[in-house]
Every structure is written in C-alpha cells, then in structure tokens.
Assembly symmetry: C2
C-alpha cells in the first residue's frame, strides 16, 4: 500500500495501467518489518477507481468473474481438488467488517460461502485452546470461508485488555503462524485484511449510528470505552501485522475510510487470488454419449 | 396452487389484483387431504408476473424489501427476539434447489443466512436418530436458515429405496410433525417448498448438463437411475405433503418448470412471511445524548 507522501507510487503510472497493477503487491504488509499504521492514510484509494461512482460500477463488473471463479472452485472440489479460500476480516469497531461481508460476499453464490463471526469467547470456548473454535469454522474444499474477526482477537483485545499473561500472547503469534502455514500446506489460500479506518472516521460513524434510531441496535456503549484504547489497539495491530504477515498468509492493509474503496479492494484481492488458483471444471468421469442415450430412452 | 383445468382461479382476477393475492394461500397444500401431484401443472405461474422479463424485474424490486426485513429480524434478535425463518427446499434432481439458493438467498445479506445442504448421511450421522443432523443445523435467532434437502429425505429416498422398515417410515411422519411443531412454538417460521418439475423438464435439464462440458460435474449417472423411480418418488412426495403440511409448518407446491417463476414465488413467500412477522428495530437501551456527548469529547 502506498504510504503517506508516496502517493505518486499509486498514481504515477496513470489511469492506463491502474487495472494492471496487482493490488495485492501494493497492499501487502511485508512481514518481519516494523509496521507504523500512522504512516498509512485510511482515505487513500491505491490503484483504485477514480471516484465512488466509478468504484460502484467496477463492483458490478466484478460480480460475474467472481461468481464464475467461485463456481469453478466448487466444481473442482467435486473431483477432489481440496483448494479453498479463507478471508479474514479484522478492524476497529465500525471499520466495516459487516459491510464487507454484505457487499463483497454478497457478490458470491451464498451456498459456497461459510461465514463465521467471532464474538467474545463463550465459557465453553474458553475451556479449549484459543484456536479450537477457529479450526471448527474452517471452509471445506471448494468453499470461500469468511471470518468476521478471528483468532487475531486473541492477540489484539487479549493483549490490550491483558486478558492473558504476556508470555502467552507472545507464544500465540508463533502458534498462529504455524497454524496458518498448515492451512496453506493443506490448500487454503489465506487472505487477511485489516480494514484501516482513521480515528476521526470512527467518531463520525459512531455519531451517525446515534443519529439514526434504526442504527441504535448497532451501538454499544462499550464501543466508546474501546475507542479510548485506540493507541493500544493500533499498536497491537502493528505487532500482529509485523509478526504474522507471511508469504503464505499475508496481511493486507485496506484503507477503509471510503467504503466504496474498501469493498472494491477486497473484491479485487479475492479476484486476484482466485484467478491465480485458476480452478478448472472437472472432466466427465462417465460416458457422456451413453448417458445421453439412456436419457433419451425415457 | 391452481390445479390443471382450474387455471381460471389464478387468472380470472386479472392482472390488477395479481399483486394483492397472498401467494401462500394459493400455493399452500391443505394438510390431511390426499395430494395428486399429477393435477399440478409445473409450467403454471399462479399469481405471478406475466412473463420472464417481468419476473426478473420483479425479483430486482423484491431485493430491497427482503434485505430490509432481514436486517430488522436480525436487529430484533439482538434485543432478545428469538424469531427466525427456516426455508426447506425439496424437489427432484434438477428441480432447482441450488438455483433457488443462488438467486433467492443471494438477495439477502449472507451474514444472516445459515445454509445447509444435506447429502446422503455419513456413517456418523447414521449412528444418530434421523433428526439429529437437522437439529444441529437450525438457524439461530434472527437468522434465515435454508435447508437444501432436509429431514424429508428420510421419508422420501428412505421410502422409495426401502432404506428402513416401513413401520419406521410411518413413525417418522409423526416425529417430523412433532419436531416442526416444537420449532414453531420456539419462534421458527417454517416454510417448506416443494419445487415441482415435470418429467419432461427433468429430461431436458439433464440433457443440457450433458451438452455442456462446464456442467458435466453436476451430472451423476445415478440421477438416471433415480429418474427411473419417478412415479415412486412422486408418490412419496404426495404422502409427505399430505401428512406433514400443518398450519404451523405448511408445504407449498412451487411450479418450477419456469426458473424465473420458481425464484419469484419463493421470494414472494419469504416476503409475505417476513412482512407478517414485522420485526422491529429495538429501542436504544442506553442514553443516546450521553453517548453522543462522550463521543464528541474525544
């Protein structure tokens, strides 16, 4: 992703090559290096459509290729292809995890999507290792799995709120890396998106929820308390992005102050990964003309 | 649903009142009476749009009210409303269960949908009572649950293929009725749709799958064997519709030879049921102006 002050990186190539830019190269967090989220502008639109209207039109254009690739992924699984996608959505309150599911995942055939929202762990979940509930919600072969929050909460809120000992948090980064490596080895394309919004944008969005009685149900007073811990959360994200962005399971920072860009960017990332997988319809494992003959007999 | 020869029932009122007709009154199977599927015309379009083009446009119009009602159902659940929907899709091979999920459920926010496709029971599932796997897949409060096939397979293929003893099949109808009554008592609106296609239409659809290499993966040679048992399956459906269409969990016969009508009709049924539920956004359980004040402070 283009950092502040380096906007030219995204725009210098001009509109001509915009579509050719691999978005994932641009937004991927290089693992192992310190991450400074303050250097990322949440209002930017790297390699994106020029404005909201164009962005929405571009989303419409993405619907058909995405659905087509999804069907091919599913079809391939019926012939033993174990590949599948796991999209992990993380971000501060109001960053748009739910909106991304609605608008991006809404482009896909719902029967091939396995969506899991992770809330505060239940007493039963707390009896198990932190990855237990996550492992139970993984996509099957051919599916697109979506995590609305994820195992990263166990190094985010757990770190900020000191829910477990520090040594345990440190241990978890390694465990997450091993877990995600095993997923990748098993055919899971792991796409982790941090929906990056600014402090001011969060205030505006929370205020908007207060202004509309039909949005009050989305508001929790505890969101204000969490907001007070903004710097600690940003730091926790920086550490997670630095330590857990591997080539087989990269983190992407999605500028998310503009909803239309957020939706477009996540859709594009899915398209790029699905295109690379290039799943194929399986060949018939039966005699087609014999089947046709039998059908025409009755 | 209008029976053959009584087409006037659906059309006599003219196009003016078409939108006013409660589709569920028209398509509902009256329980306890013998059902003769041969008397139902699978190409009919009772109370439906006049043609395919109008039908597709009507689907587009349904998207917003459906999504709005779904959001209200979900919002209400956050304040303790336990109500939810269970849509059961049954029908012969190629009747369009998958297509209905794609096109109808695709209109909803995927995060509020819980879709379960039931295939031949696994050895583990067979160790349990037949309703076991179904009970594990029920929608939670506020959700729209969708069963692509269901516990009815246990009185359909199980009956036709004599997978269990006849006395056991007989027992299952009662057990299903008790189960669905308990669901209704617990706030589940159960909507059961039999996607009714004709014998000829099935042949055409199977042949089309053979004509297109990108559809071969959908074809199973066993579909031809099942097709040979068409009359036995129709009879098994008739018995299930007669014995298990209760006022709290009715069966609807959806003429499904025309895909656009099938999608429109299932969407309309969902709209009618959701409208009747009339879920409401919950009132704020916190001091809105106090929350606004706190937010503006930081």
């Amino acid at each position: 992703m283009a950092k502040k002050g380096s906007k030219s990186r995204a725009t210098a190539k001009g509109s001509k090559s915009r579509g050719d830019l691999a978005l994932r190269e641009l937004l991927r967090v290089p693992g192992g290096k310190p991450v400074d989220l303050a250097a990322y502008d949440a209002r930017e639109t790297p390699a994106g459509p020029r404005d909201k209207q164009t962005g929405l039109a571009s989303m419409t254009d993405l619907a058909t290729p995405l659905a087509d690739l999804q069907e091919r992924l599913w079809a391939a699984s019926t012939a033993g292809d174990r590949r599948r996608i796991l999209l992990v959505l993380q971000g501060m309150d109001t960053s748009g995890k739910g909106g991304t599911v609605k608008h991006v995942i809404g482009l896909f055939n719902p029967s091939g999507c396995r969506i899991q929202a992770f809330k505060a762990p239940t007493p039963k979940e707390l009896e198990h290792p932190f990855l237990w509930r996550v492992k139970r919600a993984l996509p099957n072969a051919g599916e697109l799995g979506i995590f609305d929050r994820s195992h990263y909460e166990d190094v985010l809120i757990a770190r900020v709120r000191e829910l477990v000992e520090h040594a345990e948090i440190e241990r978890r980064y390694d465990e997450i890396n091993r877990f995600e490596k095993s997923l990748a080895d098993d055919g899971v394309t792991v796409i982790k998106c941090f929906l990056h919004i600014s402090y001011d944008e969060q205030r505006d969005r929370l205020l908007k929820r207060l202004d509309r009685p039909d949005k009050h149900w989305k508001f929790n007073v505890s969101d204000i308390d969490e907001r007070a811990l903004w710097p600690a959360y940003q730091r926790a994200y920086e550490i997670a992005l630095e330590r857990c962005s591997a080539s087989h399971a990269p983190w992407y920072v999605i500028p998310a102050d503009r909803k239309w860009y957020r939706n477009w960017a996540v859709s594009r990332l899915l398209l790029e990964h699905l295109s690379e997988l290039d799943p194929r319809y399986p060949e018939a494992d039966f005699d087609v003309s014999e089947a046709r003959k039998r059908l025409l007999e009755r």
